[in-house]
């Protein structure tokens, strides 16, 4: 199964017990992180932290060939040790291309599933759950031995030098590029395993080094592990002093860091562009119904006197010009949740936007909360009948699903009394309803229904 970093957050509640119970058939979870937030809001999440929290074995491929090889390896580990395995990529790995050698598939038979009763394995009640944890940690010890022997953790370069580099993922490619650029031949330890780490291999690598540079993108997890491992030795561990913790690594950043690490002269070439390049900001597509919704809102209320909530989807662009109606934006479904919190603390007026797909994904419990715990935000469900931002996937309420679930039925069932479905092209009714609903004492919902330009 594959997901973006934030997707792992959504399934994290199920993930931890899943690693405790272990698997029958091999299971691999591919997680795509996004350093630099090229297509993410919320946070610059480093999903490697889940390896520690869940005790899930984790591999970090550096390029497409490794993506293929490490997924195969992950399935092998999963099958052998009966545990889910995580393969973690970053944007510059996920959107990288190179010629890839494929192997021959060894198994092509799809077997019909059968659930074999095994409550000792699948029921995570105490005290059994604590036994499961012991068993899990024992599994991890065995996988660590496997990691020590795995060729995915490899040593490159000359052995007898006082400076060395430890790295993983796409950073490895930048390290090799930098060494070529600086004409250096330093020993490099490339880690394919993030968890469990091949600790013996790391100690062996650092044994005769004076200084080791950890070229690691984002948080210093590896750095801290290496510091712990070499505590008794006389190796100096260098990491975040030279490598930034925020933003993705670029080859020139790594080259500059290695130059400083080895006291070599290196100047990043200065592209002397005096005039700032104009920023081309994303815009709603021409003909998008959201233009009509935002326009109506600004006609119905004074934007300076209303709090505006945002959420994840095309309508997240509400914060950019020319709309400029967004006061908060957090994770999926939070537009309603945060709206509730704000409305419980203040009498200020609030309108919050949530997409149809996002509503089905995570807005429903938050909506129930506004009814059950009595707050009165005005919620506008941006119903363009698709999941547009990510490529027009269907969702339970999209009309392409036969017998689709109607969002107004869900909203009604949640106990919302003030509910209207309006086509935003019907501006007079839309504006009038906003004016009416924003003063209601209970939660109100407008479903702004008009198909996305890409929906047939």
């Amino acid at each position: 199964m594959a997901m973006k970093s934030f997707g792992l957050n959504v399934c994290s509640d199920a993930l931890l017990p899943f690693v405790y119970t272990g698997t029958k058939g091999p299971t691999v979870i591919v997680v795509a992180d996004d350093p630099n937030c090229w297509s993410s809001a919320q946070s610059e999440q480093n999903s490697r932290a889940y390896s520690y929290l869940a005790h899930i074995p984790t591999l970090e491929p550096a390029d497409p060939q490794e993506c293929r090889d490490f997924v195969k390896l992950a399935f092998e580990i999963s099958e052998k040790f009966k545990i889910p395995v995580m393969v973690r990529t970053t944007t510059r790995v996920s959107h990288q291309k190179m010629p890839v050698q494929l192997g021959k598939p060894t198994r092509t038979v799809l077997v019909n599933g059968e659930f074999v009763k095994d409550s000792k394995k699948f029921v995570t009640m105490p005290p059994r759950v604590l036994e499961m944890k012991e068993e899990l940690l024992e599994k991890i010890r065995k996988i660590k031995d496997f990691s020590e022997k795995s060729s995915s953790n490899k040593f490159i370069g000359v052995k007898r030098l006082p400076f060395g580099i430890i790295t993983s993922g796409v950073s490895y490619l930048y390290v090799m590029e930098a060494l070529k650029e600086l004409r250096l031949n330093l020993p490099v330890l490339k880690l394919g395993f993030f968890y469990p780490l091949p600790e013996k291999k790391i100690k062996k690598f650092t044994k005769n080094l004076k200084k080791v540079l950890i070229v690691e993108e984002l948080e210093p997890y590896l750095e801290k592990e290496v510091e712990r491992l070499v505590k008794s030795d006389l190796v100096e561990v260098v990491g975040k002093e030279l490598i930034p913790e925020v933003g993705e690594l670029k080859p020139e950043i790594v080259t500059s860091a290695i130059a400083k690490f080895t006291n070599k002269k290196f100047q990043i070439p200065d592209s002397r562009c005096q005039i700032p390049a104009p920023k081309r900001r994303p815009q709603l597509c021409p003909g998008c119904p959201y233009w009509l919704v935002f326009g109506a809102v600004k006609k119905a209320v004074d934007p300076k006197k209303v709090i505006f909530g945002g959420d994840i989807g095309c309508y997240m662009l509400a914060g950019l010009p020319p709309h400029n109606i967004q006061d908060y934006l957090s994770c999926m479904g939070s537009s309603v949740g945060i709206a509730h919190g704000i409305k419980k603390s203040t009498n200020q007026k609030l309108i919050t936007f949530i997409g149809d797909s996002t509503f089905f994904h995570s807005g429903i419990p938050a909506l129930i909360n506004t009814v059950f715990n009595k707050s009165n935000p005005l919620i506008i469900i941006m119903d363009n009948q698709t999941t547009a931002m990510t490529g027009h996937q269907p969702h339970p309420g999209a009309p392409t699903i036969p017998d689709g679930i109607k969002s107004e039925d869900i909203v009604s069932a949640c106990g919302v009394k003030n509910l209207k479905v309006i086509d935003p092209a019907n501006q007079p009714e839309f504006i009038q309803t906003i004016k009416e609903f924003i003063n209601k004492k209970e939660v109100s919902v407008i479903i702004a229904r008009h198909p996305c330009v890409f929906v047939k």
Binding site: Q96, K97, P99, E177, K250, P251, A277, K279, P282, C285
Partner: protein, 175 residues
């Protein structure tokens, strides 16, 4: 843009090079920028071009080239489509403003009215990128032979658009 990268990749593979590419789609469909890197040679590690290390910057729009100048040095060749796509709600730069600023970075600026020429010849400017790439190949601004580019076009472009792209390539060959 992605198709252009596929063609460059295919041509590089045909000529036996090692190759890595990097794509950033961003919010391209919502009017954002698309930036792609291609590096090919004997042995390639990084998929990303380092700052100031671009041999060739191929720009389908002039203002985007100012952003791409990050990767340029006096040694870099620019091959730019003489075309400005206005940026909503902002004052777009003029062609002269862009040109004058790029000239401060490198002397090798080639401004080609590719969209205009394609529009005139074929009634559509959609193959402007292919026009520029073919030109780069024939003028040896990129180390890929015209024959490899043509083979790549035939392999990558879907049947129904192949003729238009092939004709665009031939336009350069005849010139």
């Amino acid at each position: 843009m992605i198709t252009l990268l596929q063609i460059i990749s295919e041509a590089a593979l045909i000529e036996g090079y090692d190759l890595k590419t990097s794509e950033l789609h961003g919010l391209s469909q919502r009017g954002g920028s698309v930036e792609v890197h291609a590096r090919f040679g004997k042995k390639i590690f990084s998929p990303m071009v380092s700052r100031g290390k671009a041999d060739l910057i191929l720009g389908l729009e002039m203002q985007e080239c100012l952003k791409a100048a990050y990767f340029a040095s006096p040694k870099t060749t620019f091959l730019i489509n003489k075309h400005i796509v206005p940026i909503p709600l902002q004052k777009s730069l003029s062609e002269d403003q862009v040109l004058n600023n790029l000239k401060k970075i490198s002397k090798n600026i080639n401004l080609i009215p590719a969209s205009e020429i394609c529009q005139k010849e074929f009634g559509t400017g959609v193959t402007a990128g292919i026009y520029l790439l073919s030109l780069a190949s024939f003028k040896k601004l990129i180390l890929l032979k015209p024959n490899s580019i043509l083979k790549a076009i035939k392999k990558i472009i879907p049947e129904k658009y192949l003729e238009l792209n092939r004709k665009t390539f031939e336009l350069i060959r005849k010139a």
